[in-house]
């Protein structure tokens, strides 16, 4: 089974995303900010990280920059999932190693489509 780490400071968002990803057969763990997420990755590197941008303690971009320097930190597919909906944020995320980008609000169709783009689920 593929594993996913859901990183978002909103419990509601994590719950919604978790339901969608579990339907797509992912085993999910959750983290409420970038530093919790880093701990979770050091314990066990997931196949997929769904990553919010604005979070307390450590934001999504700082987490991504740190992650990509960690041992096996290049392995997980990182998909931003954020209300930062402008071109500047998207290009910055891509420059620092994000694989895909979801602009909130999202639904199961968008998540499935983006996971197909990064090759983690079969294309619809």
């Amino acid at each position: 089974m593929m594993t996913c780490l859901l990183v978002d400071d909103s419990r509601v968002i994590r719950k919604v995303a978790r339901r969608i990803l579990e339907d797509l057969d992912f085993e999910c763990r959750e983290a409420a900010d970038g530093s919790e997420a880093l701990k979770a990755c050091r314990q066990d590197m997931p196949d997929l990280i769904l990553l919010d941008w604005n979070m307390p303690v450590m934001n999504g971009l700082d987490f991504l920059k740190t992650l990509r320097k960690e041992p096996s930190g290049e392995a997980p597919k990182v998909v931003f999932c954020t209300t930062e909906n402008d071109m500047a944020h998207i290009t910055e995320a891509l420059r620092h190693g994000a694989d895909e980008y979801i602009m909130k609000p999202f639904d199961s169709d968008i998540i499935a489509s983006k996971l197909a783009e990064v090759g983690l689920v079969e294309a619809a």
Binding site: M87, I90, I102, M103, D109, I110, S113, K114, A123, A124
Partner: protein, 270 residues
Amino acid sequence: MSQSWINALEDMALRRAGLSLTGLDRKQIEARLSPLARREGYDNAEALSRAALARPEERLAYEVVEALAPGKTRFFGQGFETFREMILPDLVRRSENRPVRIWSAGCATGQEAYSLAMLAAADGVFAAPGRCEIIATDYSESAIDRAQSGRFSRMEVQTGLPVRMLVQHFEQDGEMWRARTHLRRSVDFRTLNLMAELEPLGEFDCIVLRGVVARMPADIAAKTLSRVAARLQPGGWLMLGEGERTPQTFGRLDEAGAPGLYQALDRVPA
């Protein structure tokens, strides 16, 4: 009695656009027509339909048929791997001597045509101006208007379109995303009824006709397929949608190794 306007509507959609409403119930038909009814000041879908049926030569009748046709499409999706892997290399080879021509038939709001244009642009040889001509047609004027504007909602650009292509080919336009000028200019959008004369379009190296014949009754579908396929250059490609097939009796089109993909062996008779 209340069924009679629906029967008349079915008849009109069939005659005008080859569009079959079989399988749609009254509720679904009303759902497709209510926005237009509201806009035009009718009480409901039935009142709108009756007005359109009474004056079939007027604009309202056209708009009713337009509203009945499902126009939802997405970027890329099923069939595009085939286009990238099998068709594109052949088009590149064909473009050595003359520009190649691609036709997106029944293009709705343009996602399919723009997807073809983005793949063609990704292949260096087509970056040179004039090497590749993409024509996209639809029955619906409002769909063609939207396609031409190149404006898509955040939802639309997130289903099927990789984010790197979004960054490369689109720009922000308020809450919407808009195809950049280079992408908009690479597709020639036109209003066209597939039931009308197709010869003026010329001939094509590749025709993409997805989700169109599936909603036509079998006899009209077969006729439309043969008229469309008659626009293929010898060796040209015809790409149909998921689950769409040419009838057994259809001559001179060869199955080309992927579902719904055909190649014209020789000129296809209309």
